[in-house]
Subunit: 244 residues, 4 copies
């Protein structure tokens, strides 16, 4: 039972991403066949800056469906089951998550919320409880095994594992889904943990594909105002009703 920190690794992404987006955007308005233009996109005859310019302009005007052609696949560890439960609510994505039914959690790691970590008294209480979790899990597994339930012991014992229990997940999202994910999860209203995950993913996306992600982030960044109500706004952007 030990604390685990967030780690986000990019496993794979669509290659020649900018060229593919440019080709997809262009095919909509172009009389020719983009497969014939493809080599000239790759060899720089059509300069990357020109490609990025078109892609950004069209995206900015709200025509975002072509950015779906490019996907990112991440491996993530060091998130809690509370966080993964929020994450998988984003349905336009693919997930392969570590199963608590098949993996024995005797050495369960956990996520320590920063607000708890900062208060020694809270941290102590939290960490003591995590040890109680370990005991309860081990005891229940032992009892279940002793009663002939070995093959199902994990899946029953795991009912005592906390929301804090660490999980690992491989996830793939296309750029449109990613931008939507950042809209919601880079917002100050998002829980700190999924926000940290979103921020880490955004850093990678921005580095790999700035034409799409330079302007990505919480919705306010794109809208120019905060869509939340007075009660929930973080105050960084004006409320919509306060716009001229």
């Amino acid at each position: 039972m030990a604390e685990k920190k967030l780690r986000v690794e990019l496993l794979s992404m669509t290659p020649n991403a900018l060229e593919l987006l440019y080709a997809a955007f262009r095919q909509c308005y172009h009389a020719g066949f983009v497969a014939d233009m493809w080599p000239r996109l790759l060899n720089g005859e059509i300069p990357p800056e020109k490609q990025a310019g078109l892609v950004s302009r069209v995206l900015e005007s709200g025509h975002d469906s072509p950015v779906e052609h490019v996907s990112f696949s991440f491996a993530v560890e060091g998130i809690s089951r509370a966080c993964s439960h929020q994450l998988v609510r984003h349905r336009l994505a693919s997930y392969s998550q570590q199963s608590q039914r098949y993996v024995t959690e005797s050495d369960m790691e956990y996520i320590l919320p920063p607000a708890i970590a900062r208060i020694p008294e809270a941290r102590e209480r939290f960490e003591a409880f995590m040890q109680e979790v370990g005991s309860a899990y081990a005891d229940l597994r032992d009892i279940l095994v002793a009663h002939g339930r070995a093959s199902k012991a994990n899946e029953d014992a795991r009912f005592v594992l906390p929301q804090a229990a660490e999980t690992k997940i491989v996830l793939t999202m296309n750029c449109r889904a990613l931008r939507h994910f950042f809209h919601l999860r880079c917002c100050a209203r998002a829980q700190w943990e999924i926000r940290a995950l979103a921020d880490a993913m955004l850093v990678i996306c921005r580095e790999k594909l700035p034409a799409i992600f330079a302007t990505a982030g919480a919705r306010c960044v794109e809208l120019g105002y905060c869509p939340e109500s007075e009660r929930f706004t973080c105050g960084k952007y004006p409320l919509r009703k306060d716009m001229a």
Copy 2:
């Protein structure tokens, strides 16, 4: 901290469901406009048995997209967060789930796995642990509030809540998604809890729309064989390789 049992209530479903499915199937092959036929579908001039017959036959031959036009909305309580995490992996559905961030869980209820309930020693250990959870949650909330984190106390303290913690959810699925859900979750390989949920939903669906759900269930029911490997099959149906 008390045990909670599964409860599934149908809140709403598409009205005139059979007629709508019949109309949708018919529109594909019919020269006229089904809106003109609609009154005769509703007043029984085209008898329900005839409608059901067509719908079942087309569905059986694998053309299942028209059954998407009809949806069921359920309210569910008495499932664990372990179960809801599995549930929301079904992406062709809509969910509105009780938030542990906004609802204080001082009187948290929990799901008791039947295998644990049946072993007195296991049950005792489990129930004792649930009381420890209650203490840890209350202690952490108190500490966080005392340190000025009142507004975020729930969302941080909930990290100690177990997978067993009860949750409530409103969910809507169309008939095609429901049939797929039953394929996977009425299977003996599914975890007991989501299987109980699926079974309860299937009972309701069958009663309300037998033309679609009389033949629904685990995949083997539809395939005529078990698609799992030797290691995982429950044995009720022959393996595919053992088919003639």
Copy 3:
């Protein structure tokens, strides 16, 4: 070969729609079970205006996923295949469309674009051509039948049918998808035909569920500015860059 006009009929919609949306929104933040509150929603103990107020407020702040629980099913006739091709690009929806493979189009009807209808010379040319289509279709079917291709004659002969060819379709969308559809298709940039379809659907949705659709329409209506570029804006709303 005759002209056909748009007709949109609501076949079915989720009953108790406002109550269902209210229940779904409430379940997220409520400690109790909305199934227990359900009778009081239906009998007016919780007044519809109060329900509508909550639903509108939450929707306005951008939390729109709960509105997915309610769906509308329309039967549409009098749209061209050009229009239906645009329509089915909206992927979060279910469609059952009249098949040109299975329905013989000897009496094909067609959609006459208003701009062509307004210019007598254009209209005449268009209508004369539609008669040529009818001859070509009939001739090809006859030849194919004479050569023993009766069962496939429709699907081959239909290659001469125009984009103007009328089609009929049953479609189901949930309220979130509908609002997105209206964002894009009630916009002045949308083609006149799908815009007329969207407008007709919006009239029905507004009447049936004003809490969700009173504020629906093109994106500018919701954003308060036009997201298009200078070149494409219709001028009704200021461009984003011209906002203070």
Copy 4:
């Protein structure tokens, strides 16, 4: 106005596809983090045959969600609008299609159905009609331009373009969607044109990722029987009711 033949080009696909699928499958059941295993997957320490074996076995048992992590992006030309209308009904995919609203079709190319091509009389009638289409399109554009509708002339004149009109499209599908697409569209019941497209895509997919696509094809290939009714079966596989 000239005939155009199908051409399918692979623009891009997820790199290290087999390794990514293996990593995704493994993460579900593995206690460690697949990002740590990733270098060993790439350098062959875990041999590709072993990876392919696991992936195929899990896929065969019906657990196909992990194959969503890998996508293929194709550029396609030489398909009719009849075919593209069928294609975009596959909703779990991304499309960027050449617009008849923005591209002038004065040199429209068309798809000639093989059954028509094989009958000289039919072919002659078809080709003569395509020239009539060209005249009607040109005449209508001229009239519209003369009446001050230059900017909308394409979108109105295109109503005379036939279903045979050639279109170009960039499309991205993940492996799960591709397998489903092949189930339906490699079937003898599919129209010849989309079947030719599906077959061409399958050839590429098989070459690039045999672990997933060696066994892909029409549903009968996977099921071991034909799910269609007696009336529609092609006879290559036994009907379900004729299975032991």
